[in-house]
């Protein structure tokens, strides 16, 4: 499902050259739930961005669903992101000027569908994360855990096959973190959603099928 082959990523800023990722090989199968661990700055987010087609590798190959994406144009990449991928971030990245349900509808704006269908799908996704009663609220009126649940609803509203979560529980206390984790486990178990999750928390990593460890841009295991 996800295939990374000899992927490296270099960042060049002025005179400094950072090797964020160095020769990474990774395969994630359909329905797998893996976690990525490692110290801060070791390249976890970079790895997720490459899988999520938000960035291009300096060298190596990234393939999704068996298709190499290096020859995709901007429009095709956007379509794949829209249909196949869902992102969850540590800082939620909700649009503060939009209500909960309008936030959840965002990915569907880039699809051809009626306003009614969009609304129905968004409400269903909010129901899925247990937020049916908060649809008209604005993000600032919600707790951190609730905000992250909105973000998950937004990530799953388009029914993507792959969820990419970058430290989804990093900003939450452990009880809220557990709630989020159980939603992800549930999505993985019941919808066969493939999940790649970056985490610092070994308790969370334990609950996943497999752990990929990075150190200084290298895979150590």
């Amino acid at each position: 499902m996800i295939h990374l082959q000899e992927v490296s990523k270099l960042y060049r800023t002025d005179r400094v050259e950072t090797t964020a990722l160095d020769n990474i090989n990774l395969d994630v199968g359909k329905g797998e739930f893996i976690s990525v661990m490692g110290p801060s700055g070791c390249g976890k987010s970079t790895l997720l961005n490459l899988i999520g087609l938000l960035d291009e590798p300096t060298s190596g190959k990234v393939a999704l669903d068996g298709k190499a994406i290096d020859r995709y144009g901007d429009r095709d990449l956007a379509r794949v992101r829209n249909e196949r991928l869902g992102f969850i971030f540590q800082q939620f990245h909700l649009v503060s000027d939009l209500s909960v349900v309008d936030n959840v509808e965002i990915p569907l704006l880039y699809r051809k569908m009626s306003n009614k269908e969009r609304r129905r799908a968004a409400l269903a996704a909010l129901d899925r994360v247990g937020l049916s009663s908060r649809t008209r609220h604005f993000p600032t009126q919600l707790s951190g855990g609730q905000q992250q649940r909105v973000a998950i609803a937004r990530a799953i509203v388009g029914r993507p096959g792959i969820l990419l979560a970058d430290e989804p529980t990093g900003n939450l206390d452990s009880q809220m973190g557990d709630e989020i984790m159980s939603i992800l486990e549930d999505l993985n178990a019941n919808e066969k959603t493939t999940i790649v999750m970056v985490t610092h928390d070994p308790r969370m990593a334990e609950k996943t099928h497999r752990v990929v460890r990075l150190f200084d841009g290298r895979q150590v295991q």
């Binding site: 961005n49 938000l54 901007d74 956007a78 992101r81 800082q91 990245h93 000027d97 965002i106």
Partner: protein, 401 residues
């Protein structure tokens, strides 16, 4: 998407209101300047009703008001006109009270068939038709012997004929002007002819009613004219002005004179009417420039604050083109709201009939120009910020820290 953008605009009330207000005011300014411009242009294209080729004016300064005159002065004026006509260099000359392009005017109002009509008028001698090349469309012009009639013959322009008599035949109609307090009533007037629309104030003035009264030179009741309009033969040198002035001074040493080609009066009239338009245009231009730069700044600022949102949209499936389009659409939406408010306000003018002189066509033209230029300005200002927004790298925009 439109609904989504509406929500964004609505929820960002403060920034949106600021932008809408800027657009609203620029719209009003452009509308005013454009409508004035259209009005001038519309007038300019209408027939003028006379020609000033080789026409000069000899202006008489008697240092007395029009109404205090002696029979001797009337006689002096008649002699002066005769003297002027005797020059070889002069094709024809006519006495009058007012000249084309002059600033002041003689106004009169009367009730005709139970409806109030106002008009500008002039008292002229019969030669005026030749001097200014007036075109008769009905009836006749003044002729020899008219000064002996018991009533006062008048020639009116088409506008006045239409306004006073509608579809009826104007020739032979009577006009009765109430005499001002303490003054002898004028003899009853009767229309003997109709000329083409006569726009004495010049090309940039609007259409209006006009009436020519016969100035009866032999009649001691008639006041002397204030002006003699002369048509000189082509090729007459400017130095002839001096000759003319000297001769006039000889006939009437107690009066003073000034000679000027009408082209000079025309120039001043144009300057007088175009200056506010040009100043308005320049002010509007700089205003639009400032508003434009302001718009770019505000949009830019907004987008900086919204890089995360843009990154998120890109991550969830918006292509560069879609981000670009969204920013431009948001701007068009704000513009539409501003223009809508402006149009609602401006529409009160014809609804409440606030400015009578602006015709529907000129009004619509001004509105159209204002709309088109505001939309253009606004889209132009959105282009650069939207291009920058489309260039946002989602990975950078969404990075923590």
């Amino acid at each position: 998407m439109i609904r989504h953008l509406f929500k964004l605009v609505w929820n960002r009330k403060r920034t949106s209101a600021l932008l809408i207000l800027e657009i609203f005011f620029s719209f009003l300014v452009v509308f005013v300047v454009a409508t004035l411009g259209m009005y001038c242009w519309d007038n300019y294209k209408r027939p003028l009703g006379f020609s000033i080729k080789n026409v000069w004016q000899l202006r008489i300064e008697t240092k007395k008001s029009d109404d205090q005159h002696t029979p001797e002065e009337s006689a002096t004026f008649a002699r002066l006109l005769k003297e002027v006509k005797s020059f070889d260099a002069i094709e024809s000359a006519a006495g009058a009270m007012g000249a084309p392009y002059e600033f002041g005017q003689y106004q009169s109002g009367m009730t005709i068939h139970h409806h109030d009509v106002t008009m500008e008028f002039n008292e002229v001698t019969p030669e005026l038709k030749d001097v200014l090349g007036l075109r008769l469309v009905a009836g006749r012009w003044f002729q020899e012997g008219d000064e002996k009639l018991s009533w006062l013959p008048v020639v009116i322009d088409r506008d006045l004929a239409r306004d006073a008599f509608g579809g009826q035949e104007a020739i032979g109609q009577r006009l009765d002007e109430p005499a001002p307090d303490g003054m002898k009533p004028k003899p009853g007037m009767r229309v003997i002819g109709v000329v083409d629309d006569f726009r004495r104030a010049g090309e940039l003035s609007g259409p209006g009613n006009y009436r020519f009264d016969l100035k009866r030179l032999g009649n001691p009741d008639d006041r002397p004219g204030r002006i003699i309009l002369v048509k000189v033969r082509s090729g007459t040198p400017a130095s002839f002005e001096e000759t003319l002035m000297a001769r006039a001074q000889g006939v009437a040493p107690e009066w003073s004179f000034e000679v000027k080609p009408l082209t000079q009066l025309r120039e001043s009239a144009f300057r007088l009417r175009l200056t506010p338009l040009i100043v308005g245009g320049i002010v509007a231009f700089f205003l639009l420039l400032m508003v434009g730069l302001g718009l770019i700044g505000v949009l830019w600022q907004n987008l900086l604050q919204r890089t995360r949102e843009i990154g998120l949209r890109r991550a969830t499936g918006a292509s560069r083109a879609e981000v670009h389009r969204q920013v431009v659409m948001e701007q068009i939406l704000l513009t539409t709201l501003g223009v809508f408010l402006g149009t609602v306000l401006v529409a009160q003018i014809p609804i409440l009939d606030l400015i009578g002189f602006v015709s529907g066509r000129v009004f619509a033209g001004g509105l159209l120009v204002a709309m088109v230029s505001i939309y253009l300005l606004s889209i132009l200002c959105a282009l650069y910020p939207s291009a920058m927004a489309a260039r946002v790298q989602p990975a950078d925009a969404l990075r923590y820290e």
